[in-house]
């Protein structure tokens, strides 16, 4: 039973990554820009976040709360900055969204290696000694017998999704800006006919997606692994995309979808010696997150409705 608790604590960690990245995708797609480059934006977040935590926390000696927080902030900022390429390509030049996203992913891998040589003098991992935030145990929940393991020793940052979920929902559904953003993704012609410019909204959507994906990447390298390693995002950006589809582009339902995929990640890591799982070859257990994603995607795709204009260039005047 304590194994299950351990699995859930891992699931929480992955939930945070998938939820934040998915939230990024949500802002972008709600504005009408499909962002398949989330993985690449995360990669930029991992390498710059790791550098931020190392540089400010260890090298400049800012210590623990400030160093890792600077890492997270740097990941967020660099994710948004890198996403501006996607915005430039898709909103301004009206390049096919998938083509641009694929290129973003390709370029991110190389850029991360390059940045790593600049930051750490080596291409595939960061220097050791990178600080992270003090882990917390959630009161009450962590004292549940056997099961409490799920709520012990967590990064405080796993609470972040719970802090932003309602504000995000409120912004998208109750504020003028949020409604305009969504209208740009549903019917840009109608948006413009009301005198609202579509292009700036879409730029904002894409930049926010970069900020969230970069933050999620920085969380992974700063708080979870405490190190940057090449390839550590493991396709989580694409899994976040699948979670976004499963959530029907809704920030509240995205929580459930992200937790489902987060739990799938935890199975090979924490539940390997469970009765049935024990008898399956290790390599097949490792496939679990990918198989779950494919099955969910294939099973749910017809039952959800993406923003109507997502993926389509808007040819109207841009100002």
């Amino acid at each position: 039973m304590s194994k299950l608790g351990f699995a859930i604590s891992i699931a929480f960690t992955y939930f945070t990554i998938i939820y934040l990245t998915g939230l990024g995708g949500l802002f972008s797609e709600r504005s009408g820009i499909v962002n398949i480059g989330l993985e690449g934006l995360m990669i930029i977040g991992t390498v710059t976040g790791s550098f931020g935590a190392y540089y400010f926390g260890a090298k400049l000696g800012w210590g623990v709360p400030a160093g890792p927080l600077m890492g997270l902030l740097l990941g967020l900022a660099c994710g948004a900055a890198f996403a501006s390429i996607h915005a430039l390509a898709t909103v301004t030049f009206k390049i096919d969204h998938i083509v641009s996203g694929v290129v973003i992913n390709l370029v991110a891998v190389g850029l991360a290696r390059f940045l790593s040589t600049v930051f750490f003098g080596q291409a595939t991992q960061s220097d050791p000694g990178q600080p992270h935030l003090h882990v917390i145990s959630i009161p009450l929940l962590s004292s549940i017998p056997a099961f409490g393991r799920a709520f012990q020793g967590l990064s405080p940052f796993v609470l972040f999704p719970f802090l932003v979920v309602f504000p995000v929902w409120w912004i998208l559904n109750r504020t003028r800006w949020g409604l305009r953003l969504r209208s740009a993704g549903e019917n840009p012609e109608a948006t413009r006919s009301l005198g609202v410019a579509v292009a700036p909204l879409r730029w904002e959507g894409v930049l926010i997606s970069g900020a969230f994906a970069g933050l999620a990447g920085a969380f992974l390298s700063v708080e979870i692994v405490n190190n940057w390693r090449e390839g550590q995002t493991l396709g989580l950006g694409f899994i976040a995309l699948a979670a976004l589809i499963l959530s029907n582009w809704n920030p509240i339902r995205l929580m459930g979808a992200a937790f489902l995929f987060g739990f799938a990640q935890a199975i090979p890591l924490a539940l390997r010696d469970w009765p049935v799982i024990r008898s399956i070859p290790e390599q097949f257990v490792n496939m679990t997150p990918y198989v779950v994603t494919i099955v969910v995607l294939a099973g749910f795709i017809g039952k959800v409705r993406p923003p109507a204009a997502a993926g389509k260039a808007y040819e109207g005047t841009t100002t």
């Binding site: 694929v102 891998v109 589809i245």
Partner: protein, 405 residues
Amino acid sequence: MAITATAPPAAGTGLKTRPEWLESAIGQGLALVLALVIALGLGSIIILLYGENPLDVYGSILRASTTDKDGPAWVLSAATPLIFSALAVSVCFKGGLFNIGVEGQYLVAMVTAAWAALHLGGLLPGPLLMWGVLLFGMLGGMAYAAVPGALKVKTGAHEVVTTIMMNGIAISLVAWALNNSLRYTNAPVGQNVDLRTNIFPANAKVPDLGHLFGYGPAPRLSWLFPLAVFAAAIVWFIVKRMRLGYEARAVGASAGSAQAGGIGIGSVQMKLFLISGALAGLVGMQQILVNNASTSTGGYLPQNYEATLGFTGIAVAFLGQNNPIGIVFAAIFWASLSRGESILPIETDMPREFVIILQGILIMSVVITYTLAKRRLERRQTGRVLAEEEIVAAQSAPALEGTTT
């Protein structure tokens, strides 16, 4: 398309009768040159920040792939898997599909090909074995590509996400095979060796080509290179001359119109995925079937195989503008740049990763300039059609005006 509705009639194009293919070739050429200028320009800024001379750095990269000993052979052998990979990507792209799963397809194909090389020796005598192995590689790639293809056709699951997930599964499949059915059994007693398959029989390997041109065995330039060029010719034929190619382009341009025109979208998409998978199946053959000079053995599937060739293929396909002939040249160019990676830290103060950045900037610029050139061309053609219509309208009914929208 909305583009035609808002495009202003291009002024001054008049009724010039430059052939359409020439105009598009000029446009693409200019776009490529522009992208190269942007990439080399931004690259120069990075080089200057490192305190180096851009001309020296670019000169080193150029020299490494041309005048250096065995340079061209290194480039062509590195280009070989990229040609297969980019062709695989481009076939799907013709039909508007993004096969990001070439990566997983070639990993699985290396396993099926390795199995064939180790087990079919008795069945296929002499050089037939090599062809059998290549065929099994293609079949493995096809089978693995069939899964996202079927998911796309039957459920509508987006192939970008499913193929990426299939890539993750493929890595585990290779690991499983190397630990079980393909495990190295001929290891000398007491010797601890890397996880890999047994060595293939000599007949399974692809013969060297480089020695015919006076190159050494180290670059591993093999007959797979001409085979890759031949594959490009076949893809060209399928896309330009066969019904499937026409249908694929129709589906890629507008699935709705294609369906209205009586084209079975699902069947076209499935066929494209299968062809793409077959091509992807050949990507890994360069590394498992060609003699490895460094170990002087070669012909086995190691655990530390070269990965990410499937992703590089996407970049090469974009650079070659999804044209089979363009892809061959793009792959050679890409491989020349990559050849520079090993030379940079030796001859200059630049890190080898600079080449990756240069390639990244290039691919980003190429995608943008190609699209802009294509749009400009479409606009010019629209403008010309509109101009012709105007003339016809003016001749037949001078009173009609304002019909150009």
